[in-house]
């Protein structure tokens, strides 16, 4: 537990525009994430949260600054499978069963096929999907698809788990259950998680720390340590400390939305 797992230093991302100023998606992002920490990023929609995760994952180059993973520059370790990405849409391959979807990141990497399958089964069990190994994605509910999505990312035993609004498309009830499930899974795995959401209550419920972004070009506006003990349940949402924090963060987001010209402009 020496240095941080992830460090972003003055990270920028801009997209060149032909014959104009570049389109700046985010700028000057400084963020340090400790081993085993659950960090949420909240911010108005369009502030560059998804883009930040993609840049961290190496799916897109950055335009300046530094990404350090366990102290090494991201460019150096880019070929290694160090991160699990939980996509916003579940992004399950429709021609693969749950089991095969979870296998995607672990199979064919030189280990014995039995072990990798065992590993995939174990992770389906972890997300509560034992018995659904041979189901195709279209036979699963939205919540179950996100469980497979999560199992697939966890199965590669990632150093960092990146989650992009994984519960945003679910109905409110399923979302609540999934949040509780994620709390349990995190308790069992103690992964380092960067969780992007636009739902403040979700961020507070799940996280050790909440990072608030400004409107685009996104940058870190403030950070809050969540002063709530674990293990947490839904009851914690009525804790005054929870409500206070929710209020403070909401005010900041509201300011950002207004500064961007109101909701209609986002």
């Amino acid at each position: 537990m020496a240095g941080p797992v992830l460090e972003l230093r003055n990270l920028n991302k801009e997209i060149p525009r032909p014959g104009g100023d570049p389109f700046i998606i985010f700028k000057n992002i400084n963020l340090t994430v400790r081993d085993g920490e659950f960090v949420s990023i909240v911010g108005p929609s369009g502030c560059g949260k998804t883009t930040l995760l993609r840049v961290i994952n190496g799916l897109m180059p950055h335009s300046g600054g530094q990404i350090l993973i366990d102290g090494k520059s991201a460019e150096e370790v880019n070929q290694e499978l160090l991160m699990g990405f939980v996509f916003q849409g579940a992004s399950l391959l429709p021609w693969r069963t749950s089991l095969k979807n979870v296998l995607l990141g672990v199979e064919g990497r030189g280990q014995n096929a039995k072990d990798t399958e065992q590993r995939a089964r174990k992770h389906l069990e972890l997300v509560g999907l034992s018995g659904f190994e041979n189901y195709y994605p279209h036979q699963l509910s939205g919540g179950m698809q996100q469980r497979v999505n999560l199992a697939r990312a966890l199965a590669v035993n990632p150093r960092i788990l990146l989650m992009d609004e994984p519960f945003a498309a679910l109905d409110a009830q399923t979302r609540n259950f999934m949040q509780l499930e994620l709390l349990r899974i995190w308790r069992e795995t103690r992964k380092t998680v960067i969780f992007v959401t636009h739902m403040i209550a979700e961020a507070i419920l799940l996280s050790d720390r909440v990072v608030v972004f400004t409107h685009r070009p996104g940058t870190v506006r403030s950070e809050f340590q969540v002063p709530l003990p674990r293990p947490r349940t839904m009851d914690i949402k009525s804790d005054p400390r929870f409500l206070d924090l929710e209020n403070v963060v909401w005010k900041q987001i509201e300011e950002e939305v207004n500064a961007a010209g109101g909701f209609a402009k986002l």
Partner: protein, 260 residues
């Protein structure tokens, strides 16, 4: 239960539609037209078909001749069309190279090639197989190309995020994602291939279903002509059914591939 009722209803409708068509045809032939060198009742066609199949067996040489030509042309079209389509999707260079040829050959009516091919290959199997091949290859090529071009970008992103190498990207993402498109191309190719068989046997053949129809037409043998047409239709339906089963097997995640 509801689905069962719906299936049953749709079966009744289909059978009813076919029966109504046959009844209409029968009356048209026996009361309105009443000229056996012009149109005959479906009953006569069925009787002739029965005779050619089970009494004198006249149909079989034609059926076998046509089936082989179709089979070779069709198989060659798959073997050539699918990989070339994939290569086009993956490589700009191949795309630029093949595109002008594809467009020209695809848009030219195939019947225009028939005399030239017969001139080159003679009236043997080569010319006929080439005509069928030309009919089949483009839908397969174009669908394979298109299918691999339009693979959901999310899946490609997923592969990159899991650090799959290009081999794994191809076999685990691009190829399976393209299968439904390839099969759609194959399905289209069946109809075009059968048309190719008819065209090929129209010119200077001495056997085959196309020849049978052509010869029957020349001699005003309407019942035999209709039997030939019916066998072509049956082959088409049979081919579709085969592809449908392959689809159900190869793409079990497509529920609509199972029903019809």
């Amino acid at each position: 239960m509801e689905a069962l009722t719906r299936n049953l209803n749709s079966t009744i409708l289909r059978v009813g539609s076919v029966l109504a068509g046959l009844v209409f045809w029968h009356f048209l032939a026996t009361t309105v037209i009443n000229d056996t060198t012009f149109l005959v009742s479906p009953i006569v066609v069925v009787a002739t078909g029965y005779e050619m199949l089970f009494v004198n067996g006249e149909l079989y040489p034609h059926l076998f001749a046509s089936s082989w030509i179709f089979f070779y042309g069709f198989l060659l079209a798959i073997v050539a069309g699918v990989p070339l389509g994939f290569l086009m999707a993956l490589s700009q260079i191949v795309r630029d190279y093949v595109n002008p040829w594809m467009t020209t050959l695809y848009t030219t009516p195939r019947i225009a090639f028939a005399p030239v091919l017969l001139l080159w290959f003679g009236v043997g199997g080569g010319a006929k197989v080439s005509i069928v091949f030309l009919g089949c290859v483009f839908p397969i090529l174009i669908n394979s190309y298109y299918g691999m071009r339009v693979v959901n970008r999310e899946y490609v992103e997923l592969a990159r995020s899991f650090r799959l190498n290009s081999r794994a990207l191809f076999f685990k993402i691009l190829l399976p994602a393209s299968v439904p498109f390839v099969l759609a191309g194959v399905r289209l190719a069946i109809g075009r291939g059968l048309t190719g068989v008819a065209i090929a046997e129209w010119f200077g053949a001495t056997e085959g279903l196309g020849y049978l129809i052509f010869f029957a037409g020349q001699t005003l043998n309407i019942p035999t002509l209709f039997v030939g047409v019916a066998v072509f239709a049956a082959l088409g339906i049979f081919g579709f059914e085969v592809v449908r089963r392959v689809e159900a097997y190869a793409t079990p995640w497509k529920t609509d591939a199972r029903g019809s």
